[in-house]
Amino acid sequence: MDLYVLFFYFFALLTVISAFVVVFARNIVHAAFALMFTFFGVAALYVLLYADFVAVTQLLVYVGGILVLIIFGVMLTTRMFSVEMKTGTLNILPATIFTAILAGILIFVFSVTDWGVVPDQEFDTTVYGIGTLLVNEFILPMQVAGVLLLVAMIGAVMMAARERSKSQSK
């Protein structure tokens, strides 16, 4: 249990600090790489919550897919061969105050609410359960998600292709 506590605080701090870096880094590439640690920390938190499959999915999709895409996006849309990749901000002060108040309210609400915790929800393995649920009760969402991914893929390809043909015609 004590190791658990140790790991929890380590990964919680990793998540929160790297999230701060994401938001406050002046350099967008630093923000993107800090995002990797946030995702990593969140994945570790999932592991601590007995969600091994979701954790690995988080790594595979977020770190291996989305983040690479984001970094590609950054590198394709910013002046490339210069380390200076600062991004501007808007109304930083009122926004910070506003979000701080929001965070305060959320944390307050989370701590005062009686959640009716059931502490012994420990899963031995989730893979089998998730698989079974996916093809039974969640079959429709899964099919819809599949169609959605297909649509997204075709849409992204279409847009990228249009961009290319436009730049070729120029």
Binding site: M36, V56, V63, G64, G65, L67, F72, V83
Partner: protein, 339 residues
């Protein structure tokens, strides 16, 4: 195994660290050996001898000497680079690669982490290497590096799809993601190995092997570091030990995909002869021999095949490997359903 260690050590954290460091004992000597082997194999394929002098017998300590040289080299960081990311990238790369060794069952008794999602975990955690390459390429502030890095990551991300689907074929056949269970299922003689399980799994292995070649940037898919086009790819600006870390990662990655391939298709730590020569220690032997065999095949291919062009590279992935992999996955599933 961690429990055994805990009994002898003063602190459970120490036991954890030692347990986690065990694969290092295999990986580091392996890399030294593999670099030497690569030089010897390439030399013999070109009808020469390769390093012969250092150490005595066939220049066996050449890589050790190289390593010492590398550690002593000046640590050069380009002045206009992003210093922090530049220094950090090699470590991140090795971290991603080493983390994957945690779920490789080296023998029936030793596995770093007995995860239920082992196969999946390997595929997920190696994607960190992609990011570290992007990081290195960008932080170098050099166009060759950046182009090389973007090529590499595009390549790795693309080839991840056929790899995942090929691994999925095995998972469909075995019904588990746990690499230890997959290994145990193949115990017995050579005919219990999954590659002989069905013709489609054999195709899956071929797909896996091709796309894993691309994932670890080996010839014929070594465009990201093609010296003639991109100087050195993402590690153009690196030198000394940091460069060494990248080399270490690359060789560790080769080892990793070879080991994963042998776990998934070639019985893992099982002896091909049934009970003969089997047991926990023999398991390590078999595992490493199988891995080394694939590494030898990779070296062999490197000196046999020419390099692909970049559009051909993407064609091979998207137009051939991925459709074939998906069709094959369906066929594997049908085979499992029918038989």
């Amino acid at each position: 195994m961690v429990e055994t260690l805990e009994q002898f050590l003063p602190h459970p954290l120490l036991a954890l660290f030692i347990h986690a460091a065990l694969p290092m004992v295999i990986v580091f000597p392996y890399v030294l050996f593999a670099v030497w082997l690569e030089r010897k194999v390439s030399a013999h394929m070109q009808d020469r001898l390769g390093p012969m002098r250092t150490g005595g017998w066939h220049g066996w300590s050449q890589t050790i000497a190289d390593m010492i040289k590398m550690i002593q080299k000046e640590d050069i960081v380009p002045s206009r680079s992003d210093k922090f990311l530049f220094k950090f990238a090699p470590f991140l790369a090795f971290m991603g690669s080493y983390a994957a060794f945690a779920v490789i069952p080296f023998s029936s008794e030793y596995i770093g982490a007995h995860l239920d999602v082992g196969a999946f975990y390997i595929l997920a955690v190696t994607s960190i290497v992609t990011l570290s390459i992007l990081m290195a390429g960008w932080a170098s502030n050099n166009k060759w590096s950046l182009l090389g890095a973007m090529r590499t990551s595009a390549q790795i991300v693309s080839y991840e799809i056929p790899t995942v689907v090929a691994v999925l074929s095995v998972i469909v056949a075995t019904g588990t993601l746990n690499l230890m269970t997959i290994s145990e299922m193949q115990s017995g003689t050579i005919f219990n190995w999954l590659i002989f399980h069905s013709p489609f799994l054999f195709i899956a292995f071929v797909l896996y092997f091709i796309s894993s070649l691309a994932e670890v940037n080996r010839t014929p898919f070594d465009l990201p570091e093609s010296e003639s086009e991109l100087v050195g790819g993402f590690h153009t600006e690196y030198s000394g030990m940091r460069w060494g870390m990248f080399m270490l990662t690359e060789y560790a990655d080769m080892f990793l995909v070879s080991l994963l391939g042998s776990v998934l298709f070639f019985g893992g730590w099982n002896s091909p002869f049934g009970d003969f020569m089997s047991g926990p220690i023999w398991g390590v032997f078999w595992m490493i021999s199988k891995g080394m065999f694939f590494i030898f095949v990779m070296m062999w291919l490197r000196w046999t095949l020419p390099r692909l062009r970049v559009d051909q590279l993407m064609d091979v992935c998207w137009k051939y490997l991925i459709p074939f992999a998906f069709v094959n996955l369906v066929l594997v599933a049908l085979w499992e359903m029918i038989f």
